[in-house]
Symmetry: C2
Subunit: 516 residues, 2 copies
């Protein structure tokens, strides 16, 4: 514990403000005159602190440490995702973990209760970056920071990806693999371009990633915000109810139509016949043929907005064909993505059969990727309201991590948490020096190598370490080898040993590693 | 803006507590009875919000966005660092961005004023992870979270690295490239092992990384906490002054001895003759010979602690020789690392000549890596006080990013912010379809490819895009090519074009990319 005398005033304030809870600012004032009081209160608290009989260590509610096992799975998955983004010419970027609360509330409004605010320690009001959509659905982490970035730097064109942590104060449902701190993974294309080309690329990227991850068969539902609104209008939903009805429709992936209908009519006061008209639409899904069909629809075809949406979807499907992914895409009128800021095409990827192997509990993971076009968001952050059209997607990496981890668990797959290729061992005592010389050669040649930090380890202990950690090769040096200027290379799997010239060590190891 | 009616109670509380600032808890209470008041206040505030004439967008003080240019530099450097950690058999891990404030204050004491606390939104008191040492010196990000992790999970042995963001509320000195949010990069070895073997490996790792990064010549100062304390005792420093004197000594890399001496005598009340005795020591540095010399030192040799430290340093140098890095290491009695928690060897790497090229301003970057042995820290987090010996290091990546960026700036080096290998172009109108087919082939073959999102871009615009973004290859398709079933491949650098069979496209591209 620090000497109290050394405590700078600010620290006093910070500590004080914890004890008695007025705003920090007034504390700082208080401190000047009250440091005796402070010292008294504080000392007692610090004492209590030191003496507390059983100091329980834990981590914050809804968070977790990521073990090496977790990290290996994440690294694999993120590498695949990021290399896909790069394959499509995206640049990386990052933004601070927190933003001015103003910047965030500018957009989040009613969700802001779920935002982690930083304590007012004098200065700006800050909150940890949070994302846009509702807890139950997938989100685009970086849209607010990204929109803020574009507006602030007057960037009119950018294809970028962003992988980072975000934080949400929802009650964590650990079983679903959802936490208060989680990783998000976004790709967005900002700029004024010819219609639907970037939109189609976003869907192509989703397909490449989901196929690459081998999560099983998947489908991407597509709709257009203008078709949703047009449909509501055409069915006679009063405009004031659009948003409420939208969020009911959103529940169709979890609830049956009749329950959604009941919610709309009973809870949200929608006329039954209006609800039924909606029902006729939201139960439709199909390919480009459904788009054609909707052009002929007596109601929709009367709605300008809806027609624009349909025109775009038609063009989209043409591009999806050329990308060879049309059969993965389903025009689905029940897809609403209850978000204000979407202005055009919207999409959401779902796994078709949750990857349930024998003995594995079925996972309800919801959608694993989603996104859409949001042409208005950047304008909200631009003082002059200059718009920058954007379309993007977010990969639900946390859900994907969860699926993959569950699978490995049931399959009993073990992951290697290190990448060590060679272990340096000796059967004799007093060979630490030789081992250190050997391992230096390996490290300096860029070979991943380990040895035990003991002067005289038992050979069995050393070999056992290799087996338990999955190190494929062992190089062994002992008196015999030293005398003859050789090294034994042992394959841990086959237990075969061969003797090679000492000077060929690195070359020989590299040869074997390249072969395996 | 959300319909007020929709605001959930918690949101009310959150918003309310911002307007009138009592603790959030009492708000939640207040809300129940006072929602009219709330609504009134709130609406007015929201109005103000919407109407504010010029809403200025900025990011929090002391933070910054990382542009694609920044990200490229970081990725390169972090890849090199992490691959070195992996080469030495380290596992990755991560911990939450925030910890219980209690967990952090347990260690930080007087620094806690620089900690970012989260607002009390009902629940636990949290703070963003912060690191241990003083703003001016290098730090080991993960020691508290790491120690907490080991104690919590009863892990007795672990070699791990951790790369992540940390946050500190110090007044940012942007010029020095220091921010309130920054990345740290740690490697630690926890466990009971034979003396100095892991310690020596930490120094080996530092050397590999600093040589690999080619920052110019460097030196690693080494000392031992027990030698520092022994030296103080031997010189007659009263134990109550150890820590204060320690932090004076720490300043010797920035201040002249006479100034440090003055601080110790005038400010910290050390007897002049004691200060002079210290002076004799702290001006010594050298290799293993200096260690030998100190064994003979009349004062130090009387001090048990100091002798233990010297014994260990002697052994350390033996291992450093075998690792072939002894000449990079300097036993330096002025190295104190003013940290309570170090218990044995301590070290700090400094660049010898700051990489000043012609016209480049000299950079005062301080140390670029540091660490040491801390055998007591984990015990602090263990209810029963079980100790786990640890030794580790932290790479000052932010400073390294800064150095590299400054260098590139003065050299006028341009970084590619994308990795695109091939651009798909056409000289004719109405070739969007063909371009989409072509680029799909490339993407599906794992080739990084781009095209312009326009129906009919000009050829010059397309070629200019390649030159400005550094894309090396262009594949061109037009009527001619389509008719003859060929594709033109153009090298952007040499502007040479060759025609190849359409069906050989992918193979040909891959061949060229593997050659380049």
């Amino acid at each position: 514990m620090p000497l109290l005398g050394l405590l700078p005033r600010r620290a006093w304030a910070a500590l004080l403000s914890q004890l008695l809870r007025p705003p920090c600012a007034s504390c700082t004032g208080a401190v000047r005159c009250q440091s005796q009081v402070a010292e008294a209160v504080l000392t007692s608290q610090l004492k209590a602190h030191q003496e507390k009989p059983n100091f329980i260590i834990k981590i914050p509610k809804g968070t977790r440490d990521l073990s090496p096992q977790h990290m290996v799975v994440r690294e694999k998955i993120l590498d695949l995702v990021i290399s896909c983004f790069k394959r499509h010419g995206a640049k990386g970027m990052d933004t601070p973990a927190f933003e001015l609360k103003e910047t965030l509330t500018e957009k989040y409004g009613e969700d802001s209760g779920l935002m982690y605010d930083l304590k007012d320690q004098g200065g700006e009001l800050l909150s940890l970056r949070y994302d846009l959509t509702y807890p139950s659905s997938l989100t685009d982490l970086c849209e607010v920071p990204f929109a803020r970035y574009l507006a602030m730097n007057k960037v009119k064109k950018m294809k970028r990806y962003h992988v980072g942590k975000v934080w949400r104060r929802e009650s964590p449902s650990i079983v679903q693999g959802r936490y208060r701190e989680f990783c998000q993974c976004d790709f967005d294309i900002a700029g004024q371009f010819d219609p639907m080309i970037p939109d189609a690329e976003c869907l192509k990227i989703m397909c490449e990633i989901l196929s690459g991850l081998q999560l099983g068969d998947f489908l991407i539902k597509v709709n257009d915000r203008r078709i949703v609104d047009g449909m509501f209008a055409a069915c006679g939903v009063p405009e004031s109810k659009f948003r409420a009805i939208c969020s009911s429709i959103d529940k169709l992936d979890k609830m049956a139509w009749k329950d959604v209908r009941h919610e709309m009519v009973a809870k949200k006061g929608l006329a039954p016949e209006v609800a039924d008209r909606i029902g006729d639409y939201v139960q439709c899904h199909g390919g480009v043929s459904l788009v054609e069909q909707m052009f002929q629809d007596p109601r929709l075809s009367q709605n300008k907005q809806a027609l624009e949406g349909l025109e775009d979807l038609k063009l989209l499907f043409e591009y999806l064909n050329l990308f060879g992914i049309a059969e993965k895409i389903s025009f689905d009128l029940s897809l609403a993505r209850g978000l204000d800021y979407y202005t055009g095409v919207i999409y959401e990827a779902v796994l078709l059969q949750t990857p349930t192997q024998a003995g594995e509990e079925p996972l309800n993971v919801g959608s694993v990727a989603a996104g859409g076009r949001y042409d208005g968001l950047v304008g909200m952050f631009d003082p002059k309201g200059h718009k920058v059209p954007c379309v993007g997607l977010s990969i639900g990496v946390e859900r994907i991590f969860y699926i993959v981890e569950q699978r490995m668990k049931t399959k009993g797959e073990k992951v290697r948490t290190t990448e060590t290729q060679v272990f340096v061992a000796t059967p004799q005592k007093n060979f630490l020096q030789e081992r250190l010389k050997l391992i230096t050669e390996l490290w300096d040649a860029g070979i991943k190598a380990e040895m035990l930090y003991k002067n005289n380890p038992k050979l069995l202990t050393q070999l056992h370490y290799c087996e338990s950690t999955g190190i494929p090769l062992v190089v062994i040096i002992g008196e015999q080898e030293l005398k003859e200027g050789i090294i034994k290379i042992r394959s841990v799997a086959s237990r075969e040993e061969v003797a090679i010239k000492r000077e060929n060590l690195v070359a020989e190891i590299q040869k074997r590693l390249s072969e395996s």
